[in-house]
């Protein structure tokens, strides 16, 4: 019997906290709650959860600061932000401070449960050496991509970008995150370079690049790589 995943919900609105706790408990998670940022941080540091559901506008310590403090403490469990703001710059700020994904209030509970499940699964499973993406197969040992045995040529950047995507599935990735991880901190790279590389990569792995199945654009934020379970 596997242990149940532990979820910490940091939310100051009592009604929302009640509804979220009931739903996650019903989905067979162990749920802990905190009503302000400082209490949330204390709980996280005392016993890191498997997933943190984090509101942004929190009393005492806001969600951004909490997120930053968690990452500074070298804790790498997934963080899902719940934000009422819904403005791109706020979302990007949260993601760049270490959150893995976000949902804008008001959200659907089924969608939230599905996102939480995917983030937890990613945490539990190591990225395999051979990954099937649609009909194509990415071999991470030989750094090759092939479809039906035929190799699909990839540039170094395209390979590194694809490798970054498959090792960070279901996460909202900002252009800055991608630039820093794939290109390094080069000053001549811009968000446009990322967009161009994504476009060429899509043409190689997506069956219909105009309606992508794997690399999804998050408007004004970045990209999310979705892989079928």
């Amino acid at each position: 019997m596997t242990a149940r995943s532990r979820i910490l919900i940091v939310e100051d609105d009592t009604t929302l906290l009640r509804g979220l706790s009931d739903n996650f408990r019903a989905a067979e998670y162990d749920v802990e709650t905190a009503a302000d940022g400082e209490a949330g941080l204390a709980q996280v540091l005392a016993q890191p959860p498997d997933l943190l559901l984090l509101d942004i506008m929190l009393p005492l310590l806001n969600g951004y600061d909490l997120c930053q403090r968690v990452r500074q403490a070298d804790l790498d469990f997934p963080i899902l932000m719940l934000t009422a703001k819904g403005q791109e710059e706020e979302i990007v700020r949260g993601l760049e401070l270490g959150a893995d994904d976000y949902m804008t209030k008001p959200f659907g509970i089924r969608e939230l449960l599905a996102r939480a499940k995917r983030l937890l699964r990613r945490r539990l499973s190591e990225v395999p050496d051979r990954i099937e993406i649609g009909g194509a197969v990415l071999d991470r040992t030989s750094h090759t991509l092939s479809r039906d045995g035929d190799p699909i040529p990839l540039t170094t950047k395209e390979y590194r970008l694809l490798d970054f995507f498959v090792s960070h599935p279901h996460r909202a990735l900002t252009r800055n995150d991608i630039m820093n991880q794939v290109w390094g901190r080069s000053i001549i790279v811009s968000g446009r370079s990322v967009d161009r590389c994504v476009a060429t990569l899509r043409s190689k792995i997506e069956l219909q690049p105009s309606r992508p199945q794997f690399i999804h654009t998050i408007r004004d934020v970045g990209y999310r790589f979705e892989l079928a379970d």
Binding site: D12, D13, T14, T15, L16, R18, G19, L20, D22, N23, A26, A35, D36, M57, L58, P59, L60, L82, A84, K85, G86, K105, P106, F107, G108, I109, R110
Partner: protein
């Protein structure tokens, strides 16, 4: 010599220069008075010695026939142009000062305008942030609870107990009334900001307003009888828009409720002092620092974000009370002690009781 005398009469002094062949004693003793000559002060005529020719203002040859004689205009006592140059210098100083002062005034005007615009932009941002957060949070709760109820309904295995369903429905109702109050406050605030709020003044017994306000407060917050004490006292008449007055008192009561912990005690009283009717709301809440008390009527100001988040609200309630008080030619004051509690007092000009008996609207209609 007639030529020379003419020149002297015109204010020009003939001076002998370069007179080496002549002895000093041979020079004519010429003494010319300034009187009758249009010369400025500080100038006097004199026949100068040849070696003093360098100080002359003008020095011209009189032609070959007169040989070494030269006609010179000399000054011997200071600079005759001092006054003029001082005058010009003064003009320049004044112009410079004017330019500097004008520059400073313009810079101040620009800085003030810029500050006002920045404040407006900040206000707009605050409004957007507050609206999005304060409206979306209850909406998110309602959606979550309704989704949960629907989900349970469609999956028999996840049936909820009757008590739990009722609890969810009550939570939804609470969130609903929270949304309604927020929207009412936003609308009132928006009308006041646009100057569209109209007040219909009638002579009113303040006790009617506070009883109505207490009823609304009870309706909003459920069982508050244990903490709310109303002391209406003697009849007290003011010229007021009854609805606005009720709104103001409700906002004061809700503010007292939000900022009180533990065993809340709220006292609502009415009394008359001189020509003013005082409606006071006293609480045993967290109280205010002097700095917070000075800002408490500002729009979107919230003393404690934790309280604001958990109890709802967007920092508009007290600014609405203030606007209503001003429209009634009154004021709202706060006395507070941190950790002990606060008293908010709405002071309105009192009216004679006999004006009330006519029950006619008085000739006073205000528009904010």
């Amino acid at each position: 010599m007639s030529f020379l005398s003419t020149q002297v009469h015109q204010g020009i002094i003939p001076v002998c220069t370069n007179v080496a062949p002549f002895k000093l004693s041979s020079l004519p003793k010429v003494s010319v008075s300034r009187e009758g000559l249009p010369l400025s002060s500080g100038v006097k005529f004199a026949v100068t010695l040849p070696e003093e020719a360098g100080r002359n203002l003008m020095d011209i040859s009189l032609g070959e026939k007169l040989g070494p004689w030269r006609l010179s205009l000399a000054e011997t006592d200071g600079d005759p142009f001092d006054e003029l140059s001082q005058h010009r210098w003064a003009v320049h100083v004044w112009i410079a000062m004017l330019v500097v002062v004008t520059t400073f005034v313009m810079a101040w005007v620009l800085a003030t305008a810029l500050r006002r615009r920045l404040r407006l932009a900040q206000l707009k941002n605050d409004l957007v942030a507050t609206v999005s957060h304060e409206l979306k949070t209850p909406l998110a709760s309602i959606r979550l609870l309704v989704d949960t109820l629907l989900e349970a309904e469609s999956h028999p295995t996840e049936q909820m107990s009757g008590a739990q369903v009722r609890e969810y429905l009550e939570l939804i109702a609470q969130e609903n009334s929270r949304l309604t109050r927020l929207i009412d406050n936003f609308l009132t605030f928006s009308r006041m900001e646009r100057g569209m709020q109209r007040f219909d003044f009638h002579v009113t017994d303040v006790r009617d307003a506070i009883h109505q306000a207490a009823a609304v407060f009870r309706e909003h917050l459920g069982d508050v009888d244990s903490c709310l004490q109303v002391d209406a006292g003697e009849p007290a008449y003011v010229s007021a828009d009854l609805d606005a007055l009720v709104t103001a008192v409700v906002n004061l009561l809700e503010n007292a409720w939000k900022y009180s912990d533990g065993e809340k005690q709220i006292l609502l009283t009415v009394h008359t002092e001189g020509d003013r009717v005082h409606v006071a709301v006293r609480d045993n809440g967290v109280g205010l620092s002097a700095r917070a008390a000075a800002r408490v009527f500002d729009r979107f100001y919230q003393v404690d974000q934790r309280v604001a988040r958990t109890q709802g609200g967007c920092g508009l309630g007290l600014s609405i009370v203030n606007a209503i008080a001003e429209a009634h030619h009154g004021e709202v004051r706060v006395e507070s002690q941190p950790g002990v509690g606060s008293t908010f007092t709405l002071c309105l000009p009192s009216q004679r009781a006999e004006n009330a008996s006519s029950s006619q609207p008085i000739e006073q209609e205000s528009q904010l």
